[in-house]
Symmetry: C2
Subunit: 205 residues, 2 copies
Amino acid sequence: MKTPKISEAVVRRLPVYLRFLNELSRRNVQMVSSQDLGQKLDLNPAQIRKDLAYFGEFGKKGIGYDVGYLIEKIRQILKLDQLIPVALVGAGNLGRALCNYNAYLRDNMKIVAVFDSSPEKIGVQINNLTVLPMSALVETIRELKVRIGIITVPAFEAQVVANQFVEAGVEAILNFAPVIIKVPSEIRVHHADFTTELQSLAYYL
Amino acid sequence: MKTPKISEAVVRRLPVYLRFLNELSRRNVQMVSSQDLGQKLDLNPAQIRKDLAYFGEFGKKGIGYDVGYLIEKIRQILKLDQLIPVALVGAGNLGRALCNYNAYLRDNMKIVAVFDSSPEKIGVQINNLTVLPMSALVETIRELKVRIGIITVPAFEAQVVANQFVEAGVEAILNFAPVIIKVPSEIRVHHADFTTELQSLAYYL
DNA sequence: TAGATTGTTAATCGATTAACAATC
DNA sequence: TAGATTGTTAATCGATTAACAATC
């Protein structure tokens, strides 16, 4: 489990593997080959084998991969074998959608705090969480040991929220606002903006 | 405006350029250099120049790019100079969030129809659209000349919805469901699943 | 003119794919 | 044993970056 420069492309595929493996597990499938995986996930089998081989020898030659064992290993790699507290800022439609999405509960990620800047949102209940004011952000995040912050505020507020996350000691940020946010290099930011997604799709019409 | 094999990476950056150029335009900035852009967007200036050069000579040597002109050109490239009707299936939290997101209205994309399979959702008003039953999907999409379909249903329903989109003649699909959907190769699919996004982020903790 | 910045070619870097020995 | 599939090296492919002549 050392890190000999794993590319981002590899890391992004791991959750996709995990998701499908979980489905196989639910269907009580015991073993799976890189060929099977490749077919279902539209990926080259050699690539899948190579991706996994970065982290260890998880398969059996001539047989394939044990589904349960591989799930366990990928969860370890992604650090999903521990509870990861997440905070979200922006209790709008998107924010509420993410809160209600409990799919990641199974994978040990949990939104433990929700914040908003507008007074009429504060105190509102979302999925047994009470929306807190921005003034409570830094302290609450420190108390709850939040490691990942999600930003679902309008673009013009995103950088301010990011700054607060950084101040509070968050290690990674998932930004849904349509703007590039700047943070110190030791903090990881992923951008998940669906307007750019939709616009790039238009190119192929 | 011919297509000498433009890579997906290039196409994905164009909306990011466009977004920032729009902001410059709002601020009445006339000209911008690849250096400026690169700094703001965390990209290599040479890459930006190369990306744009695939589509034409939009800049002026020694000067930079005219903001308004570049906006116009990128909008043409992305086909955002015409109205693009979009349909959405799945009137849950995420679906409603996307409907309310009117940011893409400015960019000529418009959600013109919303569908859901559960009876209690049908007839509900979302942003002056009435949620329609799945049985109306194919006919409505053909009538409204919908070109892009958005899927915000649970994973187990996503493939069925995709099949209906294909039958109705949609040209591209944006899938938010956490599952790989299979469509004929002439139809473009982008996956925008934030659970995989969040999980890959955990790797970097 | 001098300084700046593009468009483009060449060099570098990195990621994907093919191939195959090892082995279950 | 024969067939299948991994782990891994080598080959290929593609994308990013550097460099610089052209030129505003």
